[in-house]
Symmetry: C2
Subunit: 291 residues, 2 copies
């Protein structure tokens, strides 16, 4: 729990999974004295009023910080930067957290705990404003890292955008096969396919926009991926078991690294909780994040 | 619980994740009067003796059923079929269930509950023996389906083998990038990459053998995947948002189908249990599988 509110007023534009999780987490942690919000559709605005975590409003005062939570940062700096009034700070942010669900009811206060939030301040950003926004995300449970928008788009191109594009592709490929029925694909999905469908169920509007906004980095990562899959394809065609084994052994270490730093659970995933393992604690306590 | 043991003696050759789960489940359900097992390495054999679910032995009597649990069925029919003595039934099987862990300590009795087990009996198989093996898998909690080995290899090519190949590829691609450090890949893996690493941590020896044994079907599925990813790449390059949106919308329905038939949990996956959801029940009771 933070001692005093970091912000007098937190104004959210957009209150889906991420926005409503921010509202819930900020309220739980007392990170803002008042929370106001608006959304594009009247239905969402009504639902936000019912959930009771915000009133509807939108004003910008001198000294205010404008931020966002989008997945691509170069384009938001370019497109929004020009519209920010003098005296107002613009500091884009990207909390690397989410689920395959959307909308204000999908949000929950613990979404950001032990996840990373990346800030991409422009060159001339006010350091005090950057620090204040970082403190806000830390209060919500996140770890904060700062980098340029360009580097962010490259990093997320490989860790998020390319995985989504590939998952969307293979799920579509499977659905178009004439030799294998959709019912067979569903039944036998536990063999690996299931994990791709979870990613390929993400919000289509958001992901269309991500690929259009981060076109250059995504195309570069796709080029590298294609080179690598051609190499493994050649190994299979030639029956080169050693090349396959060496590649498959190398990738294991990366998984172990992700589990070691707490970005995934070590519990085996077989579509439901493992019977022999106790339920996991809900990550580390909030206090431990204020480092 | 089954009334009388389906088999007098269950002999397991290989006692890793799958073999030791079969032993545990068969013991829990009373599906075999005695369980015997052997393994390639002395250490595994010792561990199996410590776990106490089997003694070490291997004999084949007339009337015995020889089966396996491998991921490719055409090659096992071809390679093993010739070595089965007269009077012994050879009925390959593939329980479509697993985790990213290996070895006798990774197994658990509930692994097969509500999962599918595919039997691929040869043309001349004894129907009574096929039925008995089906009853055995049902006793362990699985649903059973029968198909030709050739069709099995095509179905698993798309639902399991291609997803694994792609996951292995992208995890390798990420690790070789010069612009993005491994530490960045690990930190920001919650954006989608994490789910691929889980698959790419599967046993390298087993997966090398799967790709070599199911070469033709995997190469065919890879060809179709490549066509589809080229189409999406072209849509990104041309900025064709409608084509992207249409594709991404189509893939959502498949995910909903998988959740509807109980092959995955509807709970959001964010690397740890969702705080607002009660723990899931451990699938449906065994009795319900005997249909």
């Amino acid at each position: 729990m933070t001692a005093a509110p970091l912000f007098n007023r937190l104004a959210l534009i957009g209150t889906g999974l991420i926005g409503s999780s921010i509202a819930r987490a900020a309220r739980a942690q007392g990170a803002a004295r008042s929370i106001v919000a608006t959304a594009r559709s009247a239905a969402t605005r009504r639902r936000v009023a019912e959930l009771g975590f915000a009133e509807i409003a939108a004003h910008l005062q001198a000294g205010a910080i404008v931020s966002d939570v989008g997945s691509v940062k170069g384009s938001v700096l370019r497109d929004m930067g020009a519209h920010i009034p003098a005296g107002v700070h613009f500091i884009p942010a990207h909390p690397v957290a989410g689920t395959e669900y959307s909308g204000p009811d999908a949000g929950f206060a613990e979404l950001f705990v032990n996840r990373w939030c990346i800030l991409t301040p422009p060159d001339n950003a006010d350091p005090a404003a950057v620090e204040r926004l970082a403190a806000f995300w830390q209060a919500l449970g996140a770890n904060v890292e700062t980098m340029t928008a360009e580097h962010h788009d490259l990093v997320l191109g490989i860790t998020s955008h390319l995985p989504h594009l590939i998952a969307y592709t293979i799920v579509g490929t499977a659905d178009e096969l004439s030799q294998v029925t959709r019912s067979e694909v569903l039944k036998f999905s536990a063999g690996g396919f299931r994990d791709f469908t979870r990613i390929a169920a993400s919000d289509p509007t958001m992901w269309r926009d991500v690929f259009l906004a981060n076109k250059d980095a995504v195309l570069e990562m796709l080029g590298r991926f294609n080179e690598d899959i051609s190499e493994l394809t050649r190994a299979i065609r030639r029956g080169d078991g050693d090349a396959l084994f060496d590649h498959f052994t190398r990738t294991r270490a990366i998984r172990q690294g992700i589990v070691a730093i707490g970005q995934d659970s070590p519990a085996p995933d077989f579509g439901r909780p493992h019977p022999d393992l106790p339920p996991e604690p809900l990550a580390r306590p909030y206090a431990a994040n204020d480092e």
